[in-house]
């Protein structure tokens, strides 16, 4: 590694790297992101490495471990370049076949993605419906880059935007471009990033800070994690550009320590960038100085709130403070501080390199660019998806997500994380953007998207999120601390069949006071799971309270398992599998469930081959 003292030297290095890389040489990439890692993708990587070695192909084939590709459902994912053949659910044993096929210019048919509905197989990654319907502007580089190797990022045009800014643009130009691009904060609020930057830039204090908020904490959401793990230099480049525009000499990345790979890859990226002179003094000989420090969070959800995050970086308890003066003017140690989330920063290099006009060509009115969602729950294709803002929810769930498994009926999609809300079927054609989701009583949040089908009880869903929020409230405000606790207690009572008349009204009162009187956004939105489920699924609450009935047949206290004697042939499968020994009767004749002993685990329902187990 050597220091790059000018933009010319950077471009020379980039040319050398491109030349060194024989583009015709096949490259096998293996996803080593968190999802695939959990499916033992490191073993796949090792097996491929051994196989390449054994065949003496080390000079002829490149092997690369990359960040998350997004299609986590189908992991471990292996993609071969330049043909872009995509293999799914690859096991270490498949390495030999993959290599053999590659050498003969063939494909391994059994590893191709097969559409669960149509049964059609796809060879190329970009033909797979999950990918085909996306616009993977930010996430797309993940599959091409070894996040621990800065050369890969250079080869993809990395730090070109920085070079452009430092040579052709003043800080004011960079700021103007971001403002013109109408980039809105991807962390949830949707506040225009350029306006925020300008506030910090214009604040009178000379010393200023820029911060990457990587305290992603929504259950089931991992967009920021995958970006930091898979393409840390992209986020860093965005941050450096922001620092240049704002006039900051120091920046922080506040990242959850529960993201060890993100911390590792980011730390390495910072070291590499320092080594090449892309961070530190006199960056690329421009006279601009900027340093980055990584601060690891200690696992509190509320630390993602800007004022709590500022406290946490300062070494205090991560707890929100009143901010009648914005952190953009008085943040870290009272100095002007610009905070943006990981994905927001990752957008900046594209805007600077390709221009605001290009960026404004993506998305809909008022919501420009793409947004990454983590699509999870009752949907065929789970994973990270990136779409232009403003596309209908239905397109994400049906075309990209492939619809609901087992032909079940869609019920609702929860967006915006714990503080978001549930959106029912009748609003599925709503364009996904900051403003429209808010109108529906939900929010964009940082991009969590949990799909629910007819087997989800909405009172139970509200209870789940309230349980999370009551644990993650910092506990400072009475309204949030006690409000979430009381709302949870009521929801729990309702799901246990102990709901009373007036409970819905009491929930609404508590929701009101929590929303109206809490200090930070956590408390102010904590009632959303209750309010949005009440708004669209009030009759489910009423069924629980008035009829002691759970329409989705989820709440254990309100359901009963019985065996239909007409259908039961007395095979005894349910009896053998019942953990409570609650099933009795003579074999070969209909069996009976003892309701008092039954724990409603549902195993009998799952194992019965004759559909004789009935839930009522």
């Amino acid at each position: 590694m050597f220091r790059l003292n000018s933009v010319g030297e950077l471009e020379k290095l980039r040319a050398e790297i491109s030349e060194k890389r024989d583009t015709g040489k096949p490259c096998i990439t293996t996803c080593l992101g968190t999802g695939c890692h959990a499916y033992a993708s490191y073993d796949v990587y090792d097996a491929l490495a051994e196989e390449i070695d054994a065949r003496g192909l080390k000079e002829k084939i490149e092997l690369r471990g990359t960040g998350c590709h997004g299609f986590c459902e189908q992991g471990p994912i292996v993609v071969i370049f330049p043909s872009e053949i995509c293999y799914c659910r690859v096991q270490p044993e498949d390495a030999a076949d993959i290599l053999a096929a590659l050498m003969e210019d063939k494909v391994v048919d059994r590893l191709l993605y097969e559409d669960p509905v149509s049964g059609q197989k796809y060879e190329r990654e970009d033909e797979i419906p999950f990918y085909k319907n996306q616009n993977r502007l930010i996430l797309g580089q993940n599959r091409l880059i070894d996040p621990q190797n800065i050369e890969d990022y250079f080869a993809q045009g990395g730090y070109k935007a920085l070079a452009k800014a430092l040579t052709d643009m003043t800080p004011e130009d960079v700021l103007a471009e971001v403002k013109k691009a109408n980039l809105r904060g991807r962390g949830g609020g949707g506040f225009p990033a350029g306006v925020k930057w300008e506030t910090t830039r214009q604040a009178p204090e000379k010393e200023k800070y820029v911060v990457v908020n990587a305290d992603e904490g929504d259950p089931g959401a991992y967009m920021d994690r995958s970006l930091l793990e898979g393409n840390p230099h992209l986020v860093l480049e965005g941050l450096i550009l922001g620092a240049y525009a704002i006039g900051a000499a120091e920046g922080f990345v506040y990242v959850r320590q529960e993201y060890p790979l993100a911390v590792d890859n980011l730390s390495r990226a910072v070291e590499q960038a320092q080594g090449y002179g892309l961070l530190g003094d006199n960056i690329l000989g421009s006279g601009f100085n900027f340093r980055v420090r990584i601060k690891r969070g200690a696992g509190a959800f509320v630390s993602g709130e800007s004022s709590a995050l500022v406290s946490a970086i300062e070494g205090q308890v991560g707890e929100p403070r009143p901010k009648h003066i914005n952190t953009a003017i008085s943040g870290l140690w009272g100095k002007p501080t610009n905070l943006n989330n990981v994905e927001t920063w990752a957008n900046v290099p594209f805007i600077i390199e390709r221009g605001a006009d290009w960026f404004n060509g993506i998305g809909n009115e008022g919501n420009k660019g793409t947004k990454i969602f983590s699509l999870v729950g009752k949907v065929n294709n789970t994973g990270l998806v990136e779409v232009p803002m403003g596309i209908p929810l239905r397109k994400i769930i049906e075309d990209i997500g492939g619809g609901i498994p087992q032909g079940k009926k869609f019920k609702a999609v929860q967006t915006g994380g714990p503080s978001g809300g549930c959106i029912p079927e009748q609003h599925l054609d709503t364009p996904v953007d900051f403003d429209r989701l808010q109108e529906l009583g939900s929010m964009m949040g940082s991009g969590g998207m949990i799909v629910m089908d007819e087997n989800n009880c909405m009172v139970d869903v509200a209870k789940y999120f309230m349980n999370f929020l009551k644990d993650e409230s910092c506990g400072k405000c009475t309204s949030c601390r006690e409000g979430t606790k009381r709302m949870y207690e009521i929801l729990e009572a309702i799901t246990k069949g102990e709901g009373r008349a007036g409970d819905i009204e009491l929930l609404e009162e508590l929701a009101w006071v929590t929303e109206k009187t809490s200090l930070c956004a956590l408390g102010q939105t904590a009632a959303n799971p209750v309010l949005s489920t009440l708004r669209y699924f009030r009759e489910e609450y009423e069924a629980h309270i008035n009829e002691k009935r759970c329409p989705a047949k989820v709440c254990k206290a309100l359901i009963r398992y019985t065996i239909d004697p007409e259908k039961c042939d007395g095979c005894g499968r349910c009896q053998r599998n019942c953990p409570e020994e609650a099933i009795s009767g003579e074999l070969k004749s209909p069996l009976v469930i003892d309701t008092d002993r039954c724990s409603r685990c549902g195993i009998c329902l799952e194992v019965c081959r004759r559909d004789a187990v009935v839930v009522e």
Binding site: A300, S473, G475, T478, V513
Partner: protein, 239 residues
Amino acid sequence: MVNITIDGQQFQAAEGQNVLQAALDNGIEIPHLCYHENLSSYGGCRLCLVEITRGQRTTLTTSCTYPCLEGIVVRTDTPEVLKARRLVMELLLPLAPEAPQIQALAREMGISEQRFTEEEADNCIRCGLCTRACTEMVGAQAITFSGRGYRRAVESPFGEEAVDCIGCGTCVYICPTGCIEMLDRGTQRTLPKWKRTLELKKCTKCGWPYIPFAQIEFARQRGQEPPAADWFDLCPNCR
């Protein structure tokens, strides 16, 4: 000085001073539990909610954390303010249902029935006056909040003996619910909540064990010299 309006009356207040204090100074009562004029504003109890209009924007916010700014208009008694306060009080009440100050406030707000109950109320309303007094007034920093959400509680570090506690009793004095006990027996002072027991120094004249040795030592270490070298030999009664 800036001009502010509270409930239709015009006042002058120091810029940046909190609205609650400005109101209290002018004889306007706003209920509060976590605020003390000699401590930093915390904004935790949410009882001092008021409606503040600044420019075009009106917000429901805590007056103890809102700075007096030129031209702000404060309303302390709108129906929404009163409703919000009453609900907050209803949420606080089960935490310390027996505490006289809490009962009195609840009565004043017209709360006649207790809609929420707490099985194991420890009488602490999490107002944080004790921790701020210990840190900001005393400087000992012996106790702090631990836990998040409904598990939040004031504790000695790691739930073990609060070794930095000097037994001065400021926390006991400032607590609005009386949930912190301090017991003097013979020459020993015990604060059970902080798992702390300290030796007391006797007055050389009357023999009253009146001050923890730790408190004298703490004052000395911090360079707080007493008016006379033998100052601590005598209790306040005999001085």
